[in-house]
Structures are given as structure tokens and as C-alpha cells.
Amino acid sequence: MRAKISRRTLLKGLVAAMASTISMAPSRKSSAHDFQGYETNRGVLVDVSRCVGCRSCEVACSREHGLAPPPGLVDNYRLLDQQQQGMRRTDQNAFTVVNRHESPLLTHPLFKKTQCNHCLEPACLTACFVNAYTKTPEGAVIYDADVCVGCRTCMVACPFSIPAFKYDSAFAPQIMKCNFCFDTRLSRGRPPACVEACPMEALTFGYRNDLLRVARKRIRDTPGRYEKAVYGEFEAGGTSWLYISPVPFEQAGFDIHVPRQPILNYVKDFLAVVPMVLTIWPGLFAGIYLLARANKTHKNTNDHEDVSDETSER
């Protein structure tokens, strides 16, 4: 007689395996939940009230990364005039763009610089299934084109719509996005090119924890000048780039519907189940199938043996 797994031992094993995976899942979830970012996380504080829209940051960025020079004349505001039809966004030729925003509360326009915010828990990184993204201890979210398979999930995942794809390159397409000047500057402790170029010091470089203090100091010291909030302190679980604005953030071109927790949190519960599905389900369904088949074959071939089997089990 061939060695058979009894129904009882099989079910017992399945229940035990299920229980162990379920008990493991919540502990894994909570261990990654409270990540507050690296201590050494650098950042940039953007003071929207100071920016005059000179676009020096765009020029400095394109020079630093060898990209096409920004369109239009930098000291001519006509490009920003054209934006009434729609805001410019980051693309393969521009890691950063400055947009003009009109607020009903102000007589003068506001300018908001857009670039990768280098989240503490980046959605692009967590969405990437080949680990092409890295969050460095310095705070930069960098991308490795050699690993990338070009699925562009990161572009969908990013709550700020930052990563762009080099569509016009047939043989070396890749994601194009701000890398905080990591290779050339940040890894040596130097500020990114845009910060160094800003004549109004609308961009302040430093450690993120220090910048939060600076932001609160500015809000406290000049009452009425700023909204009493720092955009990026909690948005998407916290970002390295922080913003203070003289008007409500939605009037200065910010997306205020970005959730206050990491994007990963929305899929964490689901993702915690995935290992269980992958480990338990094959065994479970294979077991059910085997049982069903065993019953069927027993009934078909030898009713007598089947009856004796059942009685012996009881």
C-alpha cells in the first residue's frame, strides 16, 4: 500500500501553516510603519513668498545634468504668461520647472518650483518591483537605469507626478527625474545646483529636522506672512523638500489632496497577504485537490477498501 497522508494530518498541517502566516503578517507591518526618515536626511526649504520666477534654478539644473536648456528666455516672463493654458510639469528635459500662480488674496503672482520632493517613504521606490530606486541616507531618492525594465509603475505611483520617461530614446529609454544632485553634490554634503543658483534664497538647504525648525521660526517671527503649516512635513508620509507659502497651499499650486501617510500604507495590508497567498494557497488547493481525487478514485476502484479505510480512521 502506498504511503498516504491522512485527511486529518493534512488539515491539521494546513490550519497550522495558515495560523503562523497570519500571526506573522501584522508584526511585519508594524515594524515598517513608524519610519520617520533618516537622521541625516537633507532637505530644502522652499519659501514661495520669496521666489520671483527668475528660473535660475531651471538653468542651473539643466547645466548640472547636461539637459536641454530651458525653453524661452529666462529673464523674460512670457513663458510664464503662456501658462494660463496649463502648468508646465517635469519632463525628460527638465527635472525642475517654475510655474506662476495667481492668488485672489494677493496683488502679485506667486511662483512655485516643482521637482522631486524626495519622500521619506517614496511611493516610486515601493512600487518598483526590480528595486531600481534607492533612498540614500542623505535623503535623495535615486534611480538606477541599469536595473529598470521600463514598466513605468513609478510614474503612476508618484503622488506628485514627477518621474518622466525618455520616450524618444528607442534604445536607452529610462526614467528621468531629479536626483537631488546626488552623484555630483549631495553625496559630498554640498547643496543641489538649484539651491546654489537661487538669488532670492527662496531655497534653503540643510538637514530636514533643522529646516522644519527654520520654517516654524519664519512662520512665528513674521505673523500673517505665511500660512501656519509646512507643506511636506506630513504629506505622503513626509518629504525632504518642504514648502511655506503666504496663501493657502491650493492657491499656490500645491496638491492638498495628497494623503498624510506614505502611499505604501494603502497597499501594506494587501501586500502582507501576498506571501500568505503564495505559500499557503498552493498547498491548500493542492491538498483539497488531492483529497477530492483520492475520494473519487477510491469510490471508483474499490468500495470495500474505501469503507475499511474510513472505519480504520474512525
Binding site: 520669496r50 520671483v52 527668475c54 536648456p69 528666455l73 529666462v74 529673464d75 523674460n76 516672463y77 512670457r78 502679485h108 554634503g189 554640498r190 547643496p191 546654489e196 537661487c198 538669488p199 532670492m200 534664497e201 534653503t204 538647504f205 540643510g206 538637514y207 529636522n209 533643522d210 525648525r213 527654520v214 521660526k217 519664519r218 517671527d221
Partner: protein, 178 residues
């Protein structure tokens, strides 16, 4: 050994000389103004000139528009009008200093000042650098009063021909005509 020390001394003396030679000429308002209370007619603000030439600043003209303290925060010998500075620097030598770069530093991104900034909790956590102090002070007024130049090339002249200089200048003149 003896030779080594003397060489070092020479270097120190040389660097001191260089510092002494450069400091007053590079500063906006010369230090002498602080003691004599004699405002200069014009100043060349060129401590930062990099891709742009320094700005020829008509001090006399601006002094007729605004009081000294509006730009300098304080008049020579008097405490600063800025309450944030005042709480500590009411007394002492800092009240006699008028040039911008003695408080607003020129080396924002040097290793030294970046490391100094780390974990700072005191009052000096957010002092604007020299570049920002110039631009925020000038443009802040020019934009809010809608008077005075606001374009880059209205104040600065580019050093050497830039890649798009003719187009830039054309755009500049067009904007000026409007």
C-alpha cells in the same frame, strides 16, 4: 625648523594683507562710514559677481527715498531696528557695523558654515546669506512699490557674451518698452 616657522609667518602676514586689501573694496558701504556717518554717493556691490558684473548702486538716490534703517536695519551707533537682533546686540560693537556682509555671510555653502548649521537651535538658525540679503532687500522694495528695475539685466550686466545674450537683451528691451 626655524625656516618653516618663518615661512608660515610670511603666509599669515600675506593673507592678512590680502584680507585687508579686499575687505573694504568688496563691501557695499565702506567701514569708515560707520564711524564718520558719511554716506557714500555710490557703491559698487560686487562681492558676489560671478556670471554678472557687480551692481552700481546709487546710494545717494536711495537715501533720498528711504531712511537708512530701512535697508541697513540700523544707523551707525544705534541699535538695530530688527527686534530679533536687538534682544542680544543692543550693546556692543555690532551696532557700529553697517556693511551687509558682516552679518549676512557670503559663504553659505562652505563646509564650515554647513556644518555649523547642523542642529542649531539658537537665534542664528535662519540668517539670510549675502546673496539673498541683497536681492530680497532690493527686489522686495522694487516689486512692492512697483518702482525701480526688477529684471536681472536691469541691474546687472552679464560678464562676457552669454549663449543667448542678444535674444536676452532684445527681450529685456521689449519688456522695458511695454
Amino acid at each position: 625648523m626655524k625656516q618653516k616657522i618663518s615661512r608660515r609667518r610670511i603666509w599669515i602676514i600675506l593673507s592678512l594683507c590680502a584680507a585687508a586689501a579686499f575687505c573694504p573694496s568688496a563691501a557695499g558701504a565702506p567701514r569708515q562710514a560707520a564711524t564718520k556717518i558719511e554716506a557714500p554717493e555710490a557703491a559698487l556691490l560686487d562681492a558676489l559677481s560671478n556670471i554678472y558684473e557687480g551692481v552700481r548702486f546709487d546710494h545717494e538716490l536711495h537715501a533720498s527715498y528711504a531712511s537708512c534703517a530701512e535697508c541697513h536695519h540700523h544707523v551707525a551707533g544705534l541699535p538695530s531696528a530688527d527686534t530679533a537682533c536687538n534682544s542680544c546686540h543692543r550693546l556692543g560693537t555690532s551696532a557700529s557695523v553697517l556693511d551687509c556682509k558682516s552679518c549676512h555671510r557670503n559663504d553659505r555653502f562652505s563646509q564650515q558654515s554647513l556644518s555649523e548649521k547642523k542642529n542649531q537651535t539658537g537665534y542664528h538658525i535662519d540668517i539670510i546669506g549675502l546673496l539673498g540679503a541683497y536681492h530680497l532687500n532690493c527686489l522686495g522694495c522694487h516689486l512692492s512699490l512697483t518702482a525701480g528695475p526688477t529684471g536681472c539685466l536691469d541691474c546687472h550686466r552679464r560678464k562676457g557674451p552669454g549663449p543667448s545674450t542678444p535674444a536676452r537683451v532684445a527681450g529685456q528691451e521689449e519688456r522695458r518698452a511695454r
